[in-house]
Amino acid sequence: MQIQSSTKTELPELAGYFTVPGAHLYTVLHQAADPVARVLLVGAFASERHFSYHAWVRWARFLAARRIEVLRYDYRGIGESTGIFGEMSFEEWSEDVKLLANWIASRSPNVPLILHGIELGAILAGKSFHEGMGDALLLWSPPANANHALRATIMRWAGLEQIFESPENQKSASEYIRQLEQGSSIEVQGYEWSSRLWRDSFHVDLPANLRDESSSREAYKKPVKTVRFGKDSGSLAMPYVRYEDPKDLSALYSDNCDWITGALALPNGRTQ
């Protein structure tokens, strides 16, 4: 994988395509010289990718600057990855995580691998971790199941995001959900959600042992950390607001990086 290497920075970011059955996943490897750990970032779903991107890229850069190599990617059928969104399923998106986790782990098997997921990505990372992948798990705003993530997206879509919609295109969240439950597709921020996606989402759960940190540490005997940004434990609030208003998330990045370093007893890897 020698693709687009930056010549101006100390930490080259390599963008490339990773072949999976029927599609190419867009990946960016944030390289670190002599890495002390590797992280696979499993991002937010569909339209949430757009809003989380700024924060996600900067988190990857923050880690890479501390000798933690990062691989981030776009789900099959979303963003820069190829494939048709409407034809994809949670099985395929779970497979993406496994294939990429294997790939990044194989780069240097002696370096620990952390899986980090946000929102729906937290479920996908959690499921792979549950199956034995990775040496530690970091979850940001994990929903109990994929349906919670979809609902949260619809709520946001039906609210603030419809400011620019014409009145005839405006619908309430409950109307959208009713349409899905009646077997129709809906459009959410340009993505066509099928009723199949909606139905399937009820069966894609965060593994039970990951619902709270103490039981997960006990069950997996590996470091697990869950971060929630809302006022209550069921909240799916995100650390970012909108792409228009980049927030300073350095405290969040610092806390989580410290956790990775401490949990895996890594040497302090700050390079810049």
């Binding site: 693709i3 290497s5 980049p246």
Partner: protein
């Protein structure tokens, strides 16, 4: 991992002290999935600049869809993340909305377009901008590499981020949208604004982006082909503005003068992002018609009918598209 697929290639444009990342959508051989090698010289490219959108894919990945479509029609297409956005390096400048409004990204966009033209042997490019991305597009269009412009919902006034809008104002807007009484009051407010507009004799509002309008006049009056795509907005049907708002479209058409070759199309059913189904298809169709009228591609001249990517994706074939072009499905000005 590899650097490209059969239809796309990743780019890192590293000249002029800034690394800009992007995606190149290759033109297609008309009857196979393999990339075409015969149409890589002296072609007109299409360059998408992101504006407020965080990534070069845009909302709903709609720019990916358009770039795929235009490439299949014979126009090599490029989507770029401007510095501070998406995968490109750096952070957005402080006061970045002011920076964008002032055309701050124009010089880097022009420099990167020069790089693309040289690297891909293009005769020039059509720049496509959306919303605030139209500001960089208009400013960058003064360079000789730019042959045409596609502007989606351009804004000729100094826009404010929703996050800097007073909360009370935002809440009032939401209330006016949702309540019947609020809607009634909102109409009265519009009426008062209309009176003020008339009293001002339709003079440019104070928040007009004067430097952009000057740049527009310079570019449009040369006769550069320009396509403006407008999404209908609340109480703003067709090309007309909302009651009480200044008619910027009429104003800029006037600035273009006699030599102006500006076409305005209203995308019925589209939302502001043009990412919904109606919007994305309408933009594709109208832009392809316009590209073909102004910059006919080799493939188009040969009458090639591709059945590859678009058809596989469930979109219209080019024959169907041709019918749409000839029956003039759009509202033009």
């Amino acid at each position: 991992m590899k650097e490209g697929t059969e239809t796309r290639e990743l780019l890192a444009l590293d000249g002029h002290g800034a690394i800009v990342r992007g995606t190149y959508h290759k033109t297609y051989n008309s009857c196979a999935d393999s990339p075409s090698n015969l149409i890589e010289r002296d072609r007109v490219g299409v360059v998408f600049l992101n504006g407020l959108a965080a990534t070069r894919a845009s909302n709903g990945d709609v720019t990916v869809y358009w770039a795929d479509s235009f490439a299949e029609r014979g126009y090599p297409s490029f989507r770029l993340d401007l510095p501070g956005f998406g995968d490109s390096e750096g952070d957005p400048p402080p006061e970045w909305l002011n920076f964008i409004n002032a055309g701050g990204y124009a010089s880097i966009a022009a420099a990167k377009i020069k790089e693309l033209v040289a690297r891909f042997n293009l005769s020039g490019v059509v720049i496509v901008g959306h919303c605030s991305g139209t500001v960089a597009a208009i400013h960058a269009a003064a360079n000789r590499e730019c042959l045409g412009l596609v502007l989606m919902d351009p804004s000729f006034h100094l826009s404010r981020s929703q996050t800097t809008r007073p909360k009370v104002r935002q809440k009032l807007n939401d209330w006016a949208l949702q309540s019947r009484f609020g809607g009634f009051l909102s109409r009265i407010f519009d009426f008062l604004k209309q009176i003020r507009l008339l009293l001002r004799a339709n003079a440019l509002p104070e928040n007009a982006n004067f430097s952009l309008l000057r740049q527009w006049k310079e570019v449009a009056s040369t006769g550069m082909p320009i396509l403006i795509l407008k999404a209908p907005r609340w109480r703003s049907p067709g090309t007309k503005p909302r009651v009480g708002e200044f008619d910027y479209l009429k104003h800029v058409l006037g600035l273009a003068g006699r030599k102006g070759r500006v076409v305005v199309k209203v995308m019925e059913g589209a939302n502001h992002s043009f990412a919904n189904r109606l919007g994305r298809v309408a933009v594709r169709q109208h832009t392809e018609c316009w590209l073909n009228d102004n910059f006919p591609s080799l493939k188009r001249e040969e009458g090639a009918v591709s059945t590859s990517l678009l058809e596989r994706n469930g979109n219209k074939t080019h024959n169907q598209f041709h019918e749409d072009c000839t029956t003039n499905i759009c509202h033009g000005v």
